[in-house]
Symmetry: C2
Subunit: 347 residues, 2 copies
């Protein structure tokens, strides 16, 4: 009782394989009567074309590979994933998904597996690390590739990222305008362990952009103090780092966090100390989530256009796949500072 093949359809309809194929795929010359007979036969025996065989012949799989760094827990990446999957489906493509937990080794393996499965193209969020030769060799073999969320200077591929710098700068301006003079930035990065105030050697471009924006904002002011903490992505470290900020004798009046997890750590630490967000201490973070709006006060946030990014990633990739154009684009999408109640007015 194996699955029926085109051969079965052909014999059921009393025609040849070739005719059956033509009838079902609707190409070439063929009489309408035969077409309906074949279709009826196919229906009757429950024929489902074997996409593997089709791919084998066509050399295309109508599948794209998605290699994402982590945790669908992260608002940005889970919404991006949904957007990519849905857009791809609408365009007739399916998505094979991998996550790497920010581990280049897993990333490399994922790319190899996807290459072997002959996906038509790849969307990758590269992990924060050195050693992306596997991506370079993809571009060399002309495999359609779109890199999202981060750019990788060494890799000549289309990238789609967001302009976090300008909104981070705007956020600083906004806080300063409200009278804040002591700011702190709490940055999560997989490239440190524990926490530290020095800027790490290696940052991914998304984080770097936020750092730069913050820096630009603070440096253009006089009499501003800006503190930094870079920490790894474990919840414990985040809490320690947030506590360090809040317990300092010179507590910053506003804390910027680089992602939702860090914002949560700050919320926890602040609550434990009976401080009130938007009054005793202020908070701004990156990547909007329904939670940031649901809680009170709402958290001011730098919104990134995740749906647009997801759609663009797929359409640009499909364009590469279907036209085999090798144009490399570097797309930077605008971000937006959305003001809610989490920055106190000190003026």
């Amino acid at each position: 009782m194996a699955k029926p093949t085109l051969n079965d359809v052909a014999s059921a309809a009393g025609v040849s394989r070739a005719t059956a194929s033509r009838a079902l795929s609707g190409y070439g010359r063929i009489s309408p009567i035969t077409v309906s007979a074949v279709k009826a036969a196919a229906e009757k025996i429950g024929y489902q074309p074997n996409a593997i065989a089709q791919s084998m012949r066509a050399g295309k799989t109508r599948t794209i590979g998605l290699v994402i760094i982590t945790d669908f827990t992260n608002v940005f990446f889970n919404r991006a994933t949904k957007g990519i999957v849905d857009t791809a489906r609408a365009m007739g493509y399916q998505v094979l998904i991998f996550n790497t937990n920010e581990d280049v080794v897993l990333e490399r393996e994922a790319i190899i597996t996807l290459t072997q499965k002959r996906v038509d193209g790849l969307i990758v969020v590269p992990s924060t690390a050195e050693g992306h030769e596997h991506l370079i060799s993809l571009t060399k073999s002309r495999t359609p590739l779109v890199i999202i969320d981060r750019v990788l200077p060494g890799v000549k591929a289309t990238s789609i990222t967001t302009d976090d710098a300008s909104s981070c700068e705007a956020a600083v301006d906004s806080a300063v305008a409200l009278g804040h003079r002591h700011l702190a930035f709490l940055v999560a990065t997989p490239t440190v362990s524990g926490y530290q105030s020095d800027v790490p050697q290696l940052l991914n471009s998304a984080i770097e952009s936020r750092v730069k924006g913050f820096l630009a904002g603070t440096q253009k002011q006089k009499k501003i103090r800006a503190d930094w903490i870079f920490c790894d992505e474990s919840p414990e470290t985040a809490l320690e780092a947030a506590a360090k900020l809040c317990d300092s004798p010179m507590r910053p009046s506003v804390i910027f966090t680089s992602n939702n997890d860090m914002a949560q750590a700050v919320l926890k630490v602040v609550a434990e100390r009976d401080l009130i967000i938007g009054k005793d201490i202020s908070l701004v973070t990156v990547d909007d989530s329904t939670w940031l709006e649901a809680i009170y006060p709402g958290i001011t946030v730098i919104q990134r256009p995740v749906d647009e990014l997801a759609q663009l990633a797929v359409t640009k990739l499909v364009a590469q796949m279907e036209t085999s154009s090798k144009r490399v684009e570097t797309i930077l999408l605008p971000t937006k500072l959305v003001t809610r109640g989490s920055i106190a007015d000190l003026s």
Copy 2:
């Protein structure tokens, strides 16, 4: 410059296709010298086996299809997705992903596409609707299938769900013990439009289980008032429904919500009315999220074992695929009531 094939490796190494294949796959008798020669040649020309051709021959794809209802936004489904993808990878399988937005039509199309792509098995969260014949025909054709989060009475397939009823009942008990006498349950279901207090005809089994638990808890008490609101899944309706509860002259002292989105709606409405959670009004919800713990007060929650569920789904599916056993299991995983500060002590 097409991708090198086994033939290319063979000629590069000066052997036949068969020998090259044996050398690379390591089977049959073959001299070590030939093996290393072939491997060197493969390496040199950058040979990557074509998994499509392998699948074609083997009749297996080492791919599983995941059809999930919606929104990776939902904590439960995004963590489940991650668990499934990671477990599958560890077992040597890749995951083709679809989401249906609770639409049976899309679900049906997804299953057809996945069948045509000859996935070795499927993990499905069936949408809340009638008409799952496509799943029944899957079981008839012996396609390995695991249904998660919900059971579908008509479909003879392994299912993995969670025992929400008992924790919902425990949550009611707990609230009653703290002195609550007027409870309300705010339930999101795609099967209504707008909101209503009557129990809808059609509920998915997960929601039904929560309803039953709540009912069991309230009915065993005397002098308890229990209100219901069933509403669709749009944020607007959720807000209206939550407002209706909070603005009622007979405001419940504790609100149970069926998911995180509804909990967020309650939080918003409550904040707008300057009420304090855990004091003026109480809240309990289903499915833990880092946010429920990060905010103040933490929200008491019914935790479902999502990681365990994800792992089980994959291992049970793989067991079906690799042993072609057709044993149907109905697995119910325990849940846990985690108490935080969101239920006021009225006693």
